[in-house]
């Protein structure tokens, strides 16, 4: 490795001023020369130039230099590439890994020699693999068929969308002359496509789970109140909205009062949203819904009226525009599982959160006195009243619980979507369908129906489009109800009016 030694020597000998003048030189060159310069730098990285390249990425040649460097997109790409090339010299494995991944996209043929050297001395397995791919991308253009063959085979082992484009380009008529390489490329392409397909399907299934968990949070409370009171609460979507706006208010308050703990505002928002939504829900039950028992259709209309009032009130208070709710650091970003599959942290947390809420609700309904009463009233209101259950109180608390769960759902929604006055409206019809499909008063039914609808929605979306998918699902639900009019999990009984 004489060249690496030279580099080291140069690094020791040359004063930093040389690099400052390199920056000056870059600044005064013509764009075409700048491009050539960047390509040279990328092929012959020098650790001392790292600072200059980082500054160039910001559009200047030094941190204290106010002159702007004019950059076009091509130069920006070349700077990224040169920077990645220099970062390969870093001691930090993570930096090297991300640099190698950048090089997979942008490496130029002139860098083959450098990449080859780094590949030989790289110790970390992950970086080595990433670097190998970057190298393989370049070696596709090599002159010896054996090198090309090895590169093609290596690319076949990845599931990278870029490997697919590269291999497809190679298989274009006239691009590859060697028959063996051609066959290998075809097998590799099939392999890559297979892996990509798996990644895509997993991605769709994951977004289906994510949608399902949101539907679950939206529909859970609805199912409880519907099972208990036989009324559909059209204002349920607005409880979601109240939860989301509570999150927004908590965020604003914490920015003002406790900026240090802002990272954890969603956790503070959970009890606040639950309390606000549950409070509003109980108030509604006391003032309006209580007087409409036994008249479900009228309740539907009255709760619709309530939802109109709530939406307009929020519009007047917060404005008709969406408010900004930002993800805290620990909820942003995602986990890269496959090259074309990133699982965002916020969605993963919400899936877990939804399941936790279901578990808590189940415990509440099955292991507490209140739950016992709720189940008794759901099964037979009159009999429960005769046994001394205060049905009015149970109704109020259950309504508060249902609304509170929706409030929790609102906190979750605020982390993945827009928060605006119409937030609830966009989820309400889907959550009704969950309740219709899942059956009444059954947590298991709601759970299966929510995830089933979510996954079906997301699987159908890429095939026939979101709208046709929704219509198809509606048609399927109507057909399904032919078989099971009471939903997936019906309470068995012989009561008839």
């Amino acid at each position: 490795m004489p060249k690496a030694l030279y580099t080291l020597l140069l690094l020791l000998l040359l004063p930093l001023a040389t690099h400052a003048s390199e920056g000056e030189f870059f600044l005064t060159s013509k764009p075409a020369d700048q491009a050539r310069l960047l390509q040279d730098w990328a092929a012959q990285p020098d650790a001392a130039r790292l600072a200059l390249l980082s500054e160039l990425k910001q559009g200047r040649i030094a941190a204290d230099d106010t002159r702007k460097v004019r950059l076009n997109n091509r130069l920006r790409g070349l700077i990224d590439n040169a920077l990645a090339s220099h970062q390969m010299l870093s001691d930090d494995t993570r930096v090297r890994l991300s640099a190698a991944q950048q090089l997979q996209k942008s490496a130029q043929p002139a860098q083959v020699a450098f990449l080859d050297r780094r590949f030989a001395i790289e110790a970390d397995a992950a970086v080595r693999a990433a670097l190998g791919l970057a190298l393989a991308n370049l070696q596709l253009a090599a002159s010896e068929p054996s090198v090309r063959l090895a590169a093609v085979r290596l690319l076949g082992e990845t599931g990278d969308p870029q490997a697919r484009t590269r291999l497809q380009a190679l298989l274009e008529p006239g691009a590859e002359t060697d028959a063996a390489v051609r066959t290998a490329a075809q097998t590799s392409l099939a392999q890559v496509e297979h892996k990509l397909l798996i990644g895509e399907l997993l991605g769709q299934a994951f977004s289906g789970l994510s949608l399902g968990s949101i539907l679950l949070l939206a529909a859970l409370g609805l199912a409880i109140t519907f099972g208990l009171l036989g009324v559909i609460n059209m204002a349920h979507g607005e409880m979601l909205m109240l939860g989301a706006y509570s999150t927004y208010m908590v965020q604003v308050m914490m920015q003002r009062l406790a900026p240090d703990a802002i990272e954890f505002y969603p956790l503070i928002a959970l009890p606040v949203a639950f309390a606000i939504s549950a409070g509003v829900g109980m108030l509604l039950e006391r003032t309006v819904i209580r007087h409409l028992y036994g008249r479900p259709l009228e309740t539907l209309l009255a709760t619709w009226g309530i939802s109109l009032i709530l939406i307009q009130a929020i519009r007047l208070l917060f404005g008709a525009q969406n408010v900004e709710v930002s993800n805290p650091g620990w909820l942003s970003g995602g986990l890269q599982v496959l090259p074309n599959l990133v699982l965002p942290y916020n969605r993963m947390v919400i899936i877990g959160f939804a399941l936790a809420v279901v578990l808590l609700t189940w415990l509440l309904l099955n292991r507490t006195r209140l739950g016992l009463n709720v189940r008794a009233v759901t099964q037979n209101r009159n009999m429960a009243a005769c046994c001394g259950v205060s049905t009015g109180r149970v109704d109020m608390l259950a309504f508060g619980l249902g609304s509170g769960i929706a409030g929790l759902g609102g906190v979750a929604l605020s982390q993945v979507g827009n928060v605006g006055p119409d937030l609830g409206q966009s989820y309400i019809i889907d959550s009704f369908l969950v309740v219709v499909l899942g059956g009444v008063g059954q947590l298991a039914g709601t759970l299966w129906a929510a995830f089933g609808l979510g996954i079906a929605n997301k699987l159908l979306e890429p095939q026939i489009g979101a709208v046709l998918g929704k219509i198809l699902i509606l048609a399927l639900i109507i057909l399904f109800i032919q078989k099971r009019p009471q939903g997936l999990f019906a309470l068995k009984g012989r009561v008839i009016d």
Binding site: H291, L297, L301, A313, L316, V436, I478, Q482
Partner: protein, 359 residues
Amino acid sequence: MNQPLLVTATQKAGPRLTLAIGATIILALLALPLLSLLPADHNLQVSAYTLTLVGKILCYAIVALALDLVWGYAGLLSLGHGLFFALGGYAMGMYLMRQASGDSLPAFMTFLSWTELPWYWAGTQHFAWALCLVVLAPGLLALVFGWFAFRSRIKGVYFSIMTQALTFAGMLLFFRNETGFGGNNGFTSFRTILGFDIASQGTRAVLFLLTVALLLVSLYLGWCLARSKFGRVLTALRDAENRLMFCGYDPRGFKLLVWVLSAVLCGLAGALYVPQVGIINPSEMSPTNSIEAAVWVALGGRGTLIGPLLGAGLVNGMKSWFTVAFPEFWLFFLGALFIVVTLYLPKGVIGVLKKRNQA
């Protein structure tokens, strides 16, 4: 709700007074288009705006009546009647678009650089076929949906939710440009109908008179229906479906008939609405519109024939005034109306009038 159902104002307020009021209203409605034909500087001239507004409200009144037939009489609260209304409107709109564009494609299709009409546009240049579509499109959809829904005995809130989902799905479908109905913008800038200028006062007056005629026909139809044995079965169905079944009736046919009839009436109302208002777009199918129709019926009085007309007139009249005077508070008012009507006016305005007469 268990009282005899034919509680119209007629029986309560004494036939003579009611007849007089009814006749006055009908005469006024007939006079309105004639007055609009007067020269613009005449004192009694009715502006085109007023005529359109009243015409629009009359179309809504027909929808309210149609909804009342299924809700007030058969106990099926539909939250999807806007879909049938809009389908009728779109069928008429297709004809009007073809009239406006002549031999070439409608303008929105040229923007999408389509070269030929989709198959379902075939024949829409003929007025007769457009009229058939006005009846067939909502009628067939209602038939298919109703057949499946009533077969599995979906009723109550389940039925309401399914109809709401249906109209929501329809709205999403019509919002798509690829569906071939102008997407977001829908149909607008009509020019002629049957060769007459659509904006001329004469055409407007004729359309208005047609709306009044349709309203009277639907009223008569509803009246016959409510008095017949069929109407009695419907109310029995609403009040105790299971007992009716034990008596040997099959409720499906009854429900299906009244449901399809109601949908067709809505379609006709939509077909008259579009040339008068001059625009149809998918927002007519939004669940909000359909559920608003329910409050017209509830405010006026369910299970009566006059009630829904009264309710549609009152709510829409207030809406036109509110949205000009206090646009921010209209939704508060509408929401409060929903709550007040369901809590305190279970029989609607008609019920209040009736009570006062009895006292």
